[in-house]
């Protein structure tokens, strides 16, 4: 649980490869500038700043030129247009994107080529485009951490199962999948912090939906059980840690207090479950999740007071 990191930048080439299709992007000009980097995870519009003689834009943000900006530029004679564009391009901007299917003239694109600043066009409307782009960038730039564990969806609850290697996390996961839970990731869970309250877990792409079962080897859950038994990513709602049963340790007997486990400064409900022969961990986890859901509805467990009337 150590290696949290902020990814600091994203090259335009990677950005285009990853999100080009989702954002309906087409590269019009400035392919030589694909090594430029996006530093800030929010897209901006120049907007009113366009009217300044020297247009100053924050560096590192993607700039979106919508209908307003384009019709403003088009309202000037060719010579002034040139000035505006070169003033725009004097900023350190990773790339410009024309929204709503706007198509620039030849002379327009030349500057981008010369300055080696990529220019894209999207068919999406400006508002929708910026919303989707900001969501994608927020996820890409999110603080992240890699955890050794299993992430499952049990009763529509994201359950992260932790425990030492060999304790039986994967076997337990298979039991739960057979009972109708969905697998997100086994052994390696990449967790991203989205906003201030949400943790989202995914599995690394090259081992997605694979589970290792000692004695059988590596199996593919999606192929074995079908597409309804897996999920690409899922919000994490609680943490369950499997411990080797130790007679010295005192385990919770009442379940009255809720412990929490901190991941990237977010506190999640946390339960430690002791593992011992004959204890069916899948059933115990199933009950733990149901109980957690019950607690969240505000229902308290009524425990007798110990005195009889």
């Amino acid at each position: 649980m150590k290696n949290s990191e902020n990814s600091h930048s994203l090259s335009i080439g990677d950005f285009y490869g990853k999100f080009g299709e989702k954002l309906f992007l087409e590269c019009i000009s400035g392919k030589d500038g694909f090594e430029r980097r996006i530093i800030s995870p929010s897209a901006k519009k120049p907007g009113l700043r366009m009217i300044e003689k020297r247009i100053e834009l924050e560096s590192g943000n993607i700039q979106v030129l919508g209908r307003t900006e384009i019709s403003y530029i088009n309202g000037f004679p060719a010579k002034t247009q040139k000035k505006i564009i070169s003033s725009l391009l004097s900023n350190d901007i990773p790339c410009f994107i024309l929204s709503k299917g706007a198509r620039p003239e030849e002379s327009f694109t030349e500057y981008f080529e010369k300055k080696r600043i990529p220019l894209f066009a999207t068919t999406l409307g400006t508002g929708k485009f910026i919303t989707i782009l900001n969501e994608l960038l927020a996820e890409e730039f999110a603080t992240r951490i890699t955890v050794h564990g299993v992430l499952l969806d049990v009763h529509h609850t994201g359950v992260l199962i932790l425990g030492k290697s060999g304790i039986g996390k994967s076997e337990c996961a298979i039991d739960l999948i057979i009972q109708g839970s969905k697998l997100i990731a086994d052994d390696v869970v990449e967790i991203r912090k989205i906003g201030s309250q949400t943790l989202v877990g995914v599995g690394p792409e090259n081992i997605r939906y694979l589970v290792e079962v000692r004695g059988i080897g590596i199996v593919n859950i999606k192929d074995l059980f079908g597409t309804t038994c897996v999920m690409e990513k899922r919000e994490i709602d609680m943490v369950i840690e499997l411990h080797q049963w130790d007679s010295e340790t005192e385990y919770d007997r009442l379940g009255l207090d809720t412990k929490t486990y901190s991941i990237l400064d977010i506190e999640l409900p946390y339960i430690v479950l002791p593992v011992s022969p004959g204890r069916n961990m899948a059933s115990v986890i199933d009950v733990a999740v149901r109980n957690q859901i019950l607690k969240e509805t505000g229902k308290k467990i009524e425990i007798p007071s110990g005195t009889r009337k």
């Binding site: 290696n3 086994d186 052994d187």
Partner: protein, 96 residues
């Protein structure tokens, strides 16, 4: 767990990199020790006792990895893990 964690950097030298069989040999070795063994590539760190973890590194020939071992048998573990990686997992070392 009083000992300090040992950290060493390695370059994967066998031609096929940390492919399935090499990964299996590595985790078979690491699983013998009680110490925790973590393998890091860039900022991505995984449990060295997990075969899926090792495979998710996608370490090819020439990849640099850092191994951190912490626990009672860390010295012996580091020695044997070093020997295995440096021998190219028994597959020989790619001279190029």
């Amino acid at each position: 767990m009083s000992q300090k964690p040992l950290v060493r950097n390695f370059v994967i030298r066998n031609r096929l990199g940390l492919h399935a069989r090499a990964a299996a040999v590595l985790v078979a070795l690491t699983s013998r020790f009680s110490s925790s063994i973590m393998i890091r590539k860039d900022s991505f760190e995984i449990d060295g006792k997990s075969i899926l973890g090792v495979l998710s590194l996608a370490a090819i020939c020439g990849t640099e990895v850092a191994i951190t071992i912490e626990g009672e048998d860390s010295e012996l573990a580091m020695e044997e893990v070093s020997r295995l990686i440096e021998s190219g997992f028994g597959e020989g070392i790619d001279p190029g």
